[in-house]
């Protein structure tokens, strides 16, 4: 690990100022991803700005929305009663990730900006365009079971590993940011990028831009939302495929509204807009759900070891929606 300086920020402005004073500063949340990557020398910051003292409050507003401070631990968000009742998909997504210990350490900001678990990205003996732009990608012809089936590029097939972000993407979450140029908000689905030719540029954030909060807009039918994760072991493993979904079925049995996002399939949390559009106004039946899943996955492309994910994603989408339509917990 390379040497770095350390400072604890008392508020967001101080954090941005402290980060601006160094050439390669990084914000430090729980450190569960950053410390690991520093040990592997994938990350080599010269300064760490500890942001765990930043606001961590979870504010359930009377209009049905919730504002979550970026310093909140993953455990605190999943345990919050308003989150659990208004947006159970978010609580379930967090609880499906990592372990009790890691969720206690991990912050909301750090979870959003955690980096891919592609093994070639971690291994500095391998070629990786994300770690060393222009070096090439050893995953494309390598062992790529966990890699992307949607939105990948010839430069990078890595996936974004967060469970929490899949729920945030489905639930129309907005991210509050503060940087050298002031404050702004951004839709979570716009924050992460697809790899294209520049996979090392992973987000639309500017230099030293800090996540200060995440906002979930009111969505009454999200009270029935859920998260389903498919993985190699029943607990403590990253998703092969995951689905966050909320479904609003009218009294006539047609889909009034729906929110759907996929995890484990792309370089970013994947909002399934095509499937959503295909579903609105259609009967809430197994056939509709299958058709919508097929439409979303129509452009999916498999690599040598991950082609199974295409069908897995289709079936998981359909099964999750069927569970919601049937009133089951999935």
């Amino acid at each position: 690990m390379r040497a770095f300086s350390y400072a604890r920020a008392e508020d967001a402005s101080a954090a941005v100022r402290l980060a601006g004073a160094s050439a390669r500063a990084r914000y430090l949340g729980g450190g569960t991803n950053l410390v690991d990557l520093m040990r592997e020398t994938v990350e080599q910051p010269d300064a760490l700005v500890d942001v765990t003292a930043l606001p961590a409050a979870i504010e359930a507003r009377s209009d049905g929305s919730i504002l979550i401070g970026a310093g909140a631990s993953n455990t605190a968000v999943a345990a919050d009663l308003a989150v659990r009742t208004r947006f159970p998909a978010l609580a379930r997504a967090i609880l499906a990730g990592a372990s009790g210990q890691i969720r206690n350490m991990a912050t909301v900001g750090g979870n959003i900006l955690q980096r891919t678990r592609c093994t070639y990205f971690y291994d500095d003996a391998s070629r990786c365009n994300k770690r060393a732009p222009g070096a090439g990608c050893d995953a494309i012809d390598g062992f790529n079971r966990i890699h992307a089936i949607l939105g990948a590029s010839p430069a990078c097939v890595a996936t974004h590993p967060s469970d929490m972000c899949v729920a945030l993407a489905a639930l129309d979450a907005t991210v509050h940011l503060q940087g050298h140029g002031g404050s702004r908000t951004m839709r979570l689905v716009d924050l992460h990028r697809l790899p294209g030719g520049r996979p090392h540029v992973e987000t639309e954030l500017q230099r030293d831009e800090l996540i200060t909060a995440v906002e979930l807009p009111a969505l009454p039918f999200a009270a029935g939302s859920t998260y389903r994760k498919v993985r190699d072991r029943a607990s403590y493993a990253f998703a092969l495929v995951s689905v966050a979904a909320a479904l609003d079925v009218g009294p006539d049995g047609t889909v009034r509204d729906v929110r759907l996002a996929l995890g484990g399939v792309a370089h970013k949390p994947w909002r399934a807009s095509i499937a959503e559009a295909a579903l609105r106004g259609r009967p809430a039946t197994a056939d509709s759900f299958r058709d919508a899943a097929d439409a979303e996955l129509a452009d999916a492309a498999g690599l040598r070891h991950n082609a199974f994910k295409i069908d897995l994603a289709r079936r998981t989408v359909a099964a999750t929606l069927e569970g919601l339509a049937g009133g089951d917990r999935t």
């Binding site: 450190g31 410390v35 372990s99 210990q101 206690n104």
Partner: protein, 169 residues
């Protein structure tokens, strides 16, 4: 850097790169806490910070200044072993013992989480209500602690006997 470790005020002057785990083992000679993977994947390094369980291998010590850290060395009281330690012995909750310090600290943190009503991935109803630590809940909540010797059944029994309210003594 100042810490409170097992109730004792401790000062240490270490490189900023030092993890809480290395601080405990290499600098304070508290060898109870174990290093398995050093990357958050095994739970052997689990300690309690202000009562919350964390993986000390992924924690930079500098970030935990002025906090109260409890390691396995701090579990036993004046009158001997912590009841959970005793139960691990009685239920064969270990073979080689390498994962045990982490299992013990994790279980104590886990029970406190359940007491506060923190749900888990297998909690059927998220809406409220007290957490019932049945077999599935325990397995899920303890999944961050691996045991290569496969002493899981004994571990679950020991935790159930000691930390689950209402479980038969």
């Amino acid at each position: 850097m100042r810490f409170t470790i097992n109730g004792q005020a401790v000062e240490a002057s270490v490189d900023l790169r030092t993890s809480l785990l290395d601080l405990l083992r290499d600098h304070l000679h508290l060898y109870g806490t174990k290093k398995g993977c050093n990357q958050g994947a095994c739970g052997a390094c689990t300690v309690l910070v202000d009562g919350n369980r964390i993986n000390s291998c992924l924690a930079l010590a500098v970030q935990y200044q002025d906090r109260a850290v409890t390691t396995v060395e701090g579990l036993a009281g004046e009158h001997g072993l912590h009841p959970l330690q005793q139960a691990f012995i009685e239920h064969d909750g270990f073979q080689c013992g390498y994962c045990t310090p982490g299992q013990l600290c994790s279980a104590i943190g886990m029970a406190a989480e359940a007491e506060r009503g923190v749900p888990s991935a297998v909690t059927a109803d998220l809406s409220a209500g007290p957490v019932v630590l049945d077999h599935d809940e325990l397995r899920e909540r303890m999944s961050g602690n691996l045991c290569r010797c496969g002493a899981y059944n004994g571990i679950v029994e020991a935790i159930t006997q000691t930390l689950v309210t209402g479980a038969a003594e």
